[in-house]
């Protein structure tokens, strides 16, 4: 058994604090609690704070601080952590149109055979839930969504693709998500949305923020090109 939280090495100038090892809102809220605590504390100047489902990565200036110094400081902080309260207006449901299958979702046949579901059952299960947004990561504006139905769990590709189309909707293990821009990636792609998830002219630049909810709905190929 592993005791949480625990501190992991992330090289010579970063550590990760891991609060658990499952997709769980309470664990996720601890990650944001530590992040907001460190942001409001000026005793150390951190280069980067990167939140995820269960971990916060803390990158610091390698010249100014040693690994053990940061470890000790963070250990003390973890012990006085209060639960994080999400900001208001974050509990909205963002509706995302998706065209499923064909060239838009090249892995839908594989996911269908792996899950032993028909494609239409797969789509209706995928669109039935409101997914909690645990984090944004992997690429600009990419939301990691929780709460996917067990029946459509499916492992990642063994070898990641070099190129995945902007707006692709995918499944990886217990997770579902959307690629906001063209990038390499290892998710099973089942569909595509015409919505722009990331906009540099907005602040924050991401359309979907941690703490909000996302719901997918199916559209036709024609509707996809109309909304593009």
């Amino acid at each position: 058994m592993v005791d949480y939280p625990r501190i992991l090495n992330s090289g010579d100038s970063a550590i990760s604090v891991e609060f658990g090892n499952k997709i769980d809102i309470d664990i996720n809220l601890k990650v944001y609690a530590l992040k907001s605590l460190l942001e409001s504390d000026n005793s150390f100047k951190f280069l980067s704070l990167i939140p995820s489902y269960c971990s916060l990565l803390i990158e610091y200036d390698i010249v100014l601080y040693s690994h053990s110094q940061i470890k000790e400081y963070i250990n003390n902080k973890i012990n006085i952590l209060n639960p994080y309260k999400p900001k208001k207006n974050q509990n909205q449901v963002i509706k995302i149109p998706v065209v499923y299958g064909k060239d838009f979702g090249p892995d839908i046949d594989y996911v269908s055979s792996y899950t032993k579901l028909t494609i239409s059952d797969l789509i209706s299960i995928h669109t039935s839930k409101e997914y909690y947004v645990y984090m944004i990561g992997f690429s600009p504006g990419f939301p990691y969504l929780g709460g996917m139905d067990k029946r459509i769990f499916c492992p990642r590709l063994e070898t990641p693709r070099i190129k995945i189309h902007e707006g692709s909707v995918g499944i990886a293990g217990q997770q579902t998500g959307i690629y906001p821009s063209e990038s390499p990636g290892g998710w099973q792609i089942i569909g595509r949305t015409p919505l722009k998830l990331f906009n540099l002219n907005q602040n924050p630049p991401a359309l979907i923020l941690p703490g909000s909810y996302v719901k997918f709905y199916p559209i036709s190929e024609e509707e996809y090109f109309e909304k593009l």
């Binding site: 992991l8 090495n9 992330s10 090289g11 010579d12 100038s13 970063a14 990760s16 891991e18 090892n21 499952k22 997709i23 992040k35 280069l47 980067s48 704070l49 990167i50 939140p51 995820s52 489902y53 269960c54 971990s55 916060l56 990565l57 990158e59 390698i62 010249v63 040693s66 690994h67 053990s68 984090m135 944004i136 990561g137 992997f138 690429s139 600009p140 504006g141 990691y144 492992p155 990642r156 590709l157 063994e158 070898t159 990641p160 070099i162 990886a172 293990g173 997770q175 906001p180 821009s181 063209e182 990038s183 390499p184 290892g186 990331f198 540099l200 924050p204 630049p205 991401a206 941690p210």
Partner: protein, 346 residues
């Protein structure tokens, strides 16, 4: 009038880079920044720029740049056979570039990435606080294109002919020894697998870019053969082990989170070595503690920032050109009181 550079030929991958874009990681925005930070820092220091000024990162060459206005520049990192007005350029030394000059980077002679700092820095529009181009998302541009105009900033200290005392960059690669700090998901790997990771050489695959270096060599697997983890944060230097078993080293354009287990991270000074490798180059990993890795970094950094910056002039009696101008020569470089000029030996 402001100095500018006109890009006559952009080659396969010409990028603007600075020290990176930080503060937007929680929105999934990559940090980016120069892949070879040492070469980036050296080039900026030689032209008296600020530490985080914007430079050109030239990958593989095939680049042609025309300078408008008198400029001072310095090139560091890989040797891409740079020539100005057909005269070979020195590396790791600042020199004067007269109005109308054409600078060409041909092809890799040593390393693959050259850094070109111009006195005053490149002053395009900052996006989310940085000018670093993120190739895949196109934040601040996917890359520099032929025909682009790059505005140059002003610098109060407009002097050239400087080198860093005792600075030497060894890019004559055999097998590269690369330090690894074990971490993040190392407990998912058996000691036999970790031993295998450090035992034999890996070869850089041609499917490598600023997002990640893919390696061929010993396959590494987790204890339960499960290579899906709950996605957690990754940074430049994280070593992912996907289901194929072949390690991927994440580079500056890396995503902010990833779903493959990470055996560890590259020690900071070795990131610069990796930035200069090409497909087929060989590396061998060795374990290093965070403490030792930090010490190595601090030593290397002090060589760049604490060493004297000076003009390596061998005084000569070739020419005397008035009493107010000191003239010396060193190879094909003429030094005056404030500048170094390149010329062709006849």
């Amino acid at each position: 009038m402001k100095n500018i550079i006109k890009v006559l030929k952009a080659g396969p991958m010409l990028l603007l880079q600075d020290s990176g874009r930080r503060g937007f990681e929680e929105y999934g925005v990559s940090i980016s920044g120069a892949a070879d930070t040492e070469a980036y820092n050296v080039s900026n220091r030689l032209v008296f720029n600020n530490e985080n000024d914007t430079v050109l990162e030239i990958f593989y060459g095939d680049v042609s740049l025309k300078f408008y206005g008198d400029n001072v520049i310095a090139i560091s990192g890989g040797d891409l056979g740079a020539e100005i007005n057909s005269i070979k350029c020195p590396l790791n030394m600042s020199f004067f570039v007269p109005d109308g000059s054409v600078l060409k980077f041909h092809y890799p002679l040593n390393g693959v990435r050259s850094y070109l700092a111009i006195s005053g820095g490149i002053e395009t529009k900052k996006i989310l606080g940085s000018r670093s181009m993120h190739v895949t998302s196109g934040i601040a541009g996917h890359k520099v294109k032929s025909g682009d105009i790059l505005p140059i900033g002003l610098n109060n200290k407009f002097k050239s002919g400087f080198t860093i005392k005792n600075y030497k960059r060894d890019l004559d690669f055999g097998i590269n020894n690369i330090g690894v700090v074990l971490g993040q998901q190392v407990d998912k790997f058996s000691s036999e697998m970790i031993e295998r990771f450090f035992k034999d050489k890996y070869i850089l695959s041609d499917k490598s870019d600023r997002q990640g270096l893919r390696l061929n060599g010993n396959k590494i697997f987790t204890i339960n053969n499960d290579h899906d983890i709950i996605s957690d944060p990754v940074i430049h230097g994280s070593i992912q082990i996907p289901g194929s078993g072949y390690p991927i080293i994440l580079m500056p354009d890396t995503q902010t989170t990833g779903g493959y287990p990470k055996i560890g991270n590259i020690g900071k000074i070795y990131l610069d070595v990796l930035a200069q490798l090409k497909a087929g180059d060989e590396i061998i990993f060795f374990p290093i503690s965070p403490k030792k890795s930090r010490e190595e970094y601090i030593i290397r950094r002090s060589l760049i920032y604490q060493s004297k910056i000076f003009r390596d002039i061998k005084l000569d009696d070739y020419m005397v050109n008035g009493k107010d101008i000191m003239i010396g020569m060193n190879d094909n470089i003429i030094f005056t009181e404030n500048h170094a000029f390149l010329f062709n030996l006849l």
